[in-house]
Structure formats: C-alpha cells, structure tokens
Point group: none
Chain length 235, copies 2
Amino acid sequence: MNIMVTEKILIVDDEETLCEVLKLNLENEGYDVDIAFSAEQALTLDLREYSLILLDIMMGEISGIKMAKMLKADIKTSHIPIIFCTAKDTEDDMIMGLNLGADDYIMKPYTVRNVIARVKSVLRRTSGSKPVNASAEKPEILQIEGLQLDLEFKRCLVDGAEIKLTKKEFELLAYLISHRGKICSREQILAKVWSNEVVVLDRTIDVNITRLRTKIGKYGSYIVTRSGFGYGFSY
Amino acid sequence: MNIMVTEKILIVDDEETLCEVLKLNLENEGYDVDIAFSAEQALTLDLREYSLILLDIMMGEISGIKMAKMLKADIKTSHIPIIFCTAKDTEDDMIMGLNLGADDYIMKPYTVRNVIARVKSVLRRTSGSKPVNASAEKPEILQIEGLQLDLEFKRCLVDGAEIKLTKKEFELLAYLISHRGKICSREQILAKVWSNEVVVLDRTIDVNITRLRTKIGKYGSYIVTRSGFGYGFSY
DNA sequence: CGGATTTGTAACAATTATGAAACATTTATG
DNA sequence: CATAAATGTTTCATAATTGTTACAAATCCG
C-alpha cells in the first residue's frame, strides 16, 4: 500500500436516507465521507479539503446548479470535481449545456454500485490534481467579496471571471489588499512593488492604479485615493 | 514448484453461470479468480493486481470494447493482457480491426478446456511483464485527465497513446504537474529541473515549454504562461 | 472663489517577454 | 567512429508590459 491521504468526499443531497446509504458504501471503499443536507449547510464547511463533491441538482433554496456555479467561481474550490445527481427525466443536454465543468453526472434512481464506479472513475482521472496538503496548506489567496487573488497561480477572479492582470498590476493590488485599511504612501509602494530595481516616477503608480481600477470593475472603487498621502484598499 | 505469486484473473461477463463455471475451472488450475458482472463493477476493482482479464465484448452500459479502451488507455492497467470473448457471429476482422491490443480472443460458445488453454498460453507469453508487486506498489503516476506521467517507467501517455518525451521534457512536465496550481518562476524551474549541473539560459526553459506543449497535444494549453512570473500547470 | 497642487486619464514610446523556427552543440548509442 | 537523438543557443517577429508625458479634472487651502 502506498502512502496516501484518504480522499474526502462530500455528499450534498436533501434525501437523508440516500445520503446515509451512499456514505456507508463509500466509506466501505475507503473514502472519508461528509454529508450536507443543503447547499447552505455545505457552504459552512471548508470545501477545499474535499477531493470530490457529489451534488444533487434539485434541492432547496440554493439549487445544486447555483452551488456548482459558486464552487467553480471560487478560486479555492474551482478545481474540485463535481458529480451531479439528477432526476431521471432531466434532459441530458441541460446538464452538459450548463457548462459547469461537471466531471460527470448520474441519473436517479442510481445504484450504489454505479455511484461508486463513477466516483472512482472521476478520482482516477483527477488524481494528483489536488494540492499536496490541501487541508493543511496556507491558502495564499486574498479575497474581498467577489474579488479573489491567487498569489500562487498569480491570477485574479472578479465575480468568478478571470481577469488578466499584468505582473505589476497584480503585485500592486496584492500589496494594497494585504495592507487593507491603511493608506500606503507612494514611497512605500515603490519600495515594495517596484523594489529597488529601477528608478521610476511616482506617477507610474498613479497610472497603474488607474489601469487596475478599470480592470477590476466594480471593485475599482475599493482602491481609494487620499490626496497628498497615497492609496489604500478600503473596507 | 518454484516460488511464485498466484496469478490473478478477472472475468468480466454478465452471464453469471458461465462466470461461475469458468471461475471453478480456472481455480482448479491454480489461478485466483474474481468476477465482475459488468464493466462498471469491474472498474470498482483495483485492476492493477490482475495478470489477465477475460472480457466479454457484449455487455451493458459500458461495453467490453469501451472497457478495453479504458484499460489500454490507463497507464496503470495498459500492460494487462486481455482475452476477448465474442459471440460466434462476430466478425473476425472487427476484433482485430479495433486495434485494442487484445492478446487473444475466443468465440462463444467455447469449451472450458479451450479457455484454459488460451489463458495459459497468454500468461506464458506475457509472464514477467507485470509489475513486481503489482498490488502493493506505489503508483508514482501523475494523471490529469487523459494525460498520464509514469514517473517510474518514465513514460507519458496522452489519451492512451504513448508520447515520446525527452528527459528534460519529462522532468519539466513532471515538475509543473506536481506543482499544479502554482506559477513556477524560471529560477525555480532551473533549480529543480536543470539542477545546478550546467548553467543554461532562461530561454532554454521557454523552448522546452514550447516543445512540450506541442507534444502533449490538447493538454498543451494546460501549461500556462504568466508573463513576468513564469509557467504553471492549470486546473 | 481662485490659484496651486494633486490626481486621473489617454496617448504614446520604450522596453521587455514570449513563441516559433532555425541552427549549433553536446550527448547517447550502436 | 558515425549517426541519431537530445539539448542548448540564437535570431526574428510579435505581443505584452511598462514607463513617460501632456493635459484634463479634481482637490486643497488661503
């Protein structure tokens, strides 16, 4: 047996009995299984630690579809494979057409055997794709509402959509956000973001601020100017 | 009798009686036999441990053909010989034309004696071709969907087809994949992949990235460039 | 208010990074 | 040794980034 961390699976479904049956069977296969009876409940968990999410499309207030969108829009969870569970009469095309990045989907009523097979299949496909210490890792993600900065992958999501930031823009934004609530002088910004590489004018910052503001859309107004002092990221 | 691990054989067929008969007879010959009544069920097993798979072509949802393709496409199982069982009227050419790497095939209705003979024959041909500790071995395989990197055999499969990667290409890809989700600076890449052997230019990485991208086909776009930062393997 | 100062913005210029291809060199292999 | 394969380098074209400037707009402060 190789050294491996147990794969954690989350089941999100409002049918309690079904959940229990699946949980038992999956645990029997060696997986670590958690259950959430609603999307709301699921969202209270630290979803990063799951290797796979089994998601019922038809649920209460937040539908499975909405939840899937949220998962895919959140940089911390967007890589987690999702298997949709759908009622039998749901149109095939609908699911696929949703373009939600579902890795698989299963029709109800499904057999336990079938579910396990799908789970294994998906996990086999995506094995090695999760962070090494998913649950213990320092996130390295800055997030302000719908504005997300992945400091490792150097990318920025605005309400779920990736925004291309240049290196300087990215570093500038990261600097401001990580000093949220403080006004940073141009000197400080130059020192940290521009390092001591080359000598650039103060005004360079201003221009980059402008570019940043437009790129991050509605969050642009979070970058505030304090005349005579510098810039900051507001609460 | 020499020291040998019992050879495990998997029968995948939906005719229960037939399976049992075969199982009894093969066990009588000293083999260890498991049965799966469908491809789905078979896929829940750890297939690596089998020395041979007897596969019925005509089955339920996942046909035997599809399953064989999956087996051959998965680097963990691609070495396992498969004997196809076909209905009598199946065209010979069809089987061979499938180019599935079947090691043999048998027409139904077949005699038990016949099956055993084929099994022995195939196992004789392929003996020594399986991993030493097939079931206990640490896989050491990186897999992203249809892209598979066998770190031990130093080979790469793209959707089941072997792709020849040079040493540097292989190591570079392995490095990127094992740091999936992070952007690796050229410095980091040089340090790890090029070690401190020789001094090479940054641009060497770029060129190897390009070569890699074209070689791994559609997965090439998984290798992302973050201008000014470096390269990374995306989710 | 009104001039001085600071900041926003757009356009431009300069620089740098990257991809692709071709070429050169080194290394493996028989 | 000869050949092929692998690897590194150079070059060119292009794309992307970054910095500067000029001017408009906003802000500051008497």
